[in-house]
Amino acid sequence: MSYVVKEALAGFRRTKGMGLISVGTTAVSLVVFGGLLLILLSLYGLIDQVKSRVQIEIYLSDAATREQILELEKRLKAMPEVKKLLYVDKEMAAAEFEKTFGEGFLDAISQNPLPASLKVTLTSGYRSSEKIAAIIKAVEKEKAVEEIEYGRKWVEKLDRLIYILSFVAVLVTLVIGAASVFVISNTVNLTILARRDSIEIMRLVGATDSFIRAPFLLEGIIGGSLGGSIAAALLYFVHRWLSLRFPSLSLVPGAELAAWLMIPLGMALGGLGSRLAIRRILRHLP
């Protein structure tokens, strides 16, 4: 075992800079991949924040009784989709109207034409137009309900945007993820290929495949976790600095923790890359 560790560490020294290149490439690839992940997380945070403003307004019939309204409120509150419920009576509606359109408007009319309403704020995760439609369907037949309104077009547009963004995000994540795996494993591959002669000689002197493989594997894992650590530290601190500089970006609390994912990722990629590279070489030896 001590042999494996000794050899793995010596590997970095022996390849003169190749180990450094490998670590650097891993770090750079993971910075790109991890940075993308963080940007995507922020993007989702942004969308979620925008969506939290989605409200359903249920206008109540003037003829609705107090019991009917209470019954409606009870039903709504029982739904998991409903986060908050605000009752706006006729007077408050009039006051709001006047605030928007200037005073004197309603004075000219004998009777307040504005209905009372229930403003429903939705739980995050239930803000798609389908969920909204479901809620509406559930309550629209209630006696108390006169009319239901929500920014239908707006919500649908947002839904579509999220759909496109998700699609692009998945695509980009896949592409960048694949690119990182490709680049890291190739670099590791090249550094091991450069030692093909040594591997061949080891075999000729009686080393088993697993004996040859072990130090390379450990070297790959060490190099990968080193690269991953550099990437993680960089991402963490850049993210922190950016969130301080642009508070509007730090929408997902703890998003920067995702940065630390790069360490096990680098480790896995370094180890796996080494494993594949060494296996390919060993398979082609006599």
Binding site: Y3, A10, R14, T15, R195, D197, S198, I201, M202, R203, L204, V205, G206, A207, T208, D209, F211, P286
Partner: protein
């Protein structure tokens, strides 16, 4: 015991060996003689299982080329020392580590390993160069490192491919004496060489090979 049974070796269109049969008994010292390009190295590589015969089979103790499993080849190589014509040193580690590697693969204890490596390096006259890298050594010195690595395991058989080629007269006779001593202690030695004088002065059996055929 080393045995080749009607072995053919062809690579592409070239026939390297043609119907080679030979047998070396346990404890024997045998010369494999032939001009350049005769096929001496190929014979040794076949016995070391670095290559497989195209036809026929090679046997080394209980290992037979037609039945051996890949994972048993390393075990075989640990028990047979090979002195390579082109030395095949690991150039990314020093002389000590090069020789030690042959013991390392067997899982030898560290203390034992150190003692045995230094002992063997001294035997070939290179104790003082143990911390050098292979590129820093002269041709003859590199050859002796390769010899030391082949011996360090105390193999039961020794395959020596032109082991004295880069050595001056004195060093060569020292190494030859070393191999003869080992042979006296029971090690089988098969030595490929083109030095016909050597065989004339020594009382050992001689296999002649030319253009891939044994005579």
């Amino acid at each position: 015991m080393i045995q080749m049974h009607h072995v053919y070796k062809t690579v592409g269109n070239t026939t390297v060996l043609e119907d080679v049969s030979l047998q070396v008994e346990k404890g024997e010292f045998v010369f494999l003689l032939g001009p350049s390009g005769a096929g001496k190295s190929t014979v040794l590589r076949l016995i070391h299982f670095d290559e497989r015969p195209t036809q026929g089979w090679v046997r080394l103790e209980d290992y037979n080329s037609s039945t051996i499993k890949s994972r048993h080849i390393p075990l075989l190589r640990r028990r047979v020392g090979m002195i390579f014509q082109d030395f095949k040193l690991l150039r990314d580690r020093n002389i000590f580590d090069n020789v030690a590697f042959a013991l390392e693969v067997t899982g030898a204890k560290k203390a034992l390993m150190k003692r045995r490596v230094l002992q063997t390096l001294t035997l070939v006259g290179l104790g003082h160069l143990r911390n050098m890298m292979p590129v820093q050594l002269s041709g003859g010195e590199q050859q002796r490192v390769s010899i030391a690595r082949a011996l360090v395991n105390q193999p039961f058989a020794l395959l020596a491919d032109e082991p004295l080629g880069d050595l001056d007269k004195e060093a060569a006779s020292d190494i030859l004496q070393l191999l003869r001593d080992l042979n006296h202690q029971g090690t089988t030695v098969l030595m490929a060489t083109h030095d016909t004088e050597l065989m004339e002065t020594l009382p050992y059996r001689c296999l002649m090979i030319e253009k891939g055929k044994i005579f």
